[in-house]
Amino acid sequence: MAYEEPITDYDHIVENCTCAFCGSNCDDLDFLVKGNHVVGVRHACRLGASKIMEDEDQRLKVPMMRDENGELQEVDWDTALDAAAELIANSVRPLFYGWSETSIECMKKGLKLTEYVGAVIDNQATICHGPTVQAVQNVGYPLMTLGEVKNRADMVVYTGSNPMNAHPRHLARYSVFPRGWFRQRGRFDRTLVTWDPKFSDTAKMSDIWVPFEENGDYGFCNAIRAVLKGKELKEDVISGIPKQDIIDLTESMKNVEFGALFFGLGLTHTLSKQRNIDIAIQLVQDLNAYTKWVLLPMRGHFNVNGFNIYMAYEMGFPYGVDFCRGYPRYMIGETTTVDLLNRKEPDVFLVIAADPGAHFPGGANMHLANIPVIQIDIHWGPSTELADIVLPGTFIGVETAGTSYRMDSVPIHMKSAIDPPETCREDEWIVNELYERVKKIKEEAK
């Protein structure tokens, strides 16, 4: 990495801003502002800093609609909002997807619209940590805030996740490197373990790397649990790991003072999906009979957990909630986005602060190509190519303040540091505007 000169050309600093990138929600960022633009970011990782500083890159700045040739053309806000409201008001199976990169305040308006029209509302959990939520629902959820790990943990395990690349400050700010109350020597007081088929950047810096084979997660955890119960292992090698290594690992996990297990999509998206998490949770529960263990999913988007929390307290279900019958229903595979799209059910799709064009399986995107898609976002992306109406929002945590929930469910008020582009509107305003206009159409039709 080349040396970069420190940034000195700025007007003022806004301190303690919160990063709107990953689920770590680092809230110690200093924004260097010059002429209503963030020209430098202190303390953030490169992922966070570049997202905040490159906010003008491919920025959606004006409302757009497709013309008769299928090209997106600029229109005024009224035209775009009315057209979007018309589509929603007349739909039979509307689906409102995304929400993980916007504020709780915006979600409130979104749920109001969802309840009013009888739509399905869902977020990115449906394609990322949904299996985690299902497993939690099956067997429990022994978690903690990240400071517990910082202050107490003497063993930290990452599995199916590579925070050095995906959550770059996770080890530095929360789990491994910082000095904690009971861990005054920081990194030297902790054992770092990675269970992962890949020799990831996190594995490279770990004290112990356990490379179980792909799809071997469930069998591996099952074997540790059996060892904990005093059973002698039959096979010499289980899920690619020699028997003795499993026994030794189990013994060291029993003998720490405080252990923390962090897991990512490597666990949620291999063969046995939520059952990998299911058994990992049970393993942590078992370990608590010997010493203290906790676990936490490595959530991706900065407010993906926030949506699940918000929906849980408002409606009792965390994601994939279907209001088409006037009451909420939650049924994995039936009320979840990708399943609905694969079945070709939705007739209008609203996407906000998400990029299904980039992340959904082909079959789901094929259906999106065939139905009206309304996009609310700040950047041009693959989903814009699928969109029929584009409504440019604002950047939460930079241009607009709002509430988010960190991966460990700590609520954070993300302040704003600069003004949004004049032609854009806040997400919350846009969604509320859609609600008001849909309501007007529906009431006139009565």
Binding site: P94, V117, N138, A223, K229, L271, G333
Partner: protein, 269 residues
Amino acid sequence: MKTITLTLKKFSSIALEFEELIPDTVYNWSKEDFENYQVPIGNTRFPLTNYFDIEVEGDAEGPEDVKMILDGDMSRVKYIGYRMTAGEIIVNGDADLQAGAEMIGGSLKINGNAESYVGREMRGGSIEVMGNVREYCGTSYIGEWRGMSGGVIKVHGNAGKQLADCMSGGEIYIGGSCDILAGIHMTKGYIEIGGDVTRWPGGQMKNGTIVIKGKLSSLLEGFENEGIFVDPDIEGKQLTGKYIKYKGDIGVNGKGSLWLNAEKNRNLL
């Protein structure tokens, strides 16, 4: 006896929800009642006649006198037979999600394939599927640790993943093969699989019985061999041939039994 025949004339890609059309509610409906009925589709209701030709013959004193025949592709008709307590439903075609979910009594026969959640949380009655079923057949509701508690599900084809999650009673027979984690978290009941099984049947099972007549590809460490039995009698069901018996899942101090056909699984002998 009352015979109600609904013949599909228009396919809706948005699923119809059929939980109101079970023998318990329609036994005293006339043809006109059906013609006036609006079926839930998405956030709206539409006339049933948009989608079905309707025939009603005979009379019924109660749901037990009703035979409902659904002719055509029902792969977008959800909740067929949901919570029914009596009577008979026959689907001449594929069935969509939740067929026979929370069923209490009566019988449901699907002469085709069925989607996921067949017989979810079933309490009684019988379901027969001539084709395949997808995931979560005979399962519990997500988060609920008390799953299917009674009744019989018979599938002539194959079953998908996570058959009978948290099963706590009843019987399931799969004629064909079965994907991963059959009987996960089960506490009671009987599962018999005629064909091969990929991996890990009985994961985290506490009790109950799983019989596999075909080949198992991968057994969990949480199961302990209890010996070989010839022509075992398992819960009153007489099996023929040699079976290896396992107890598990140790991880949860489970006392479940897993029986594997010894001939097909010689590698485990």
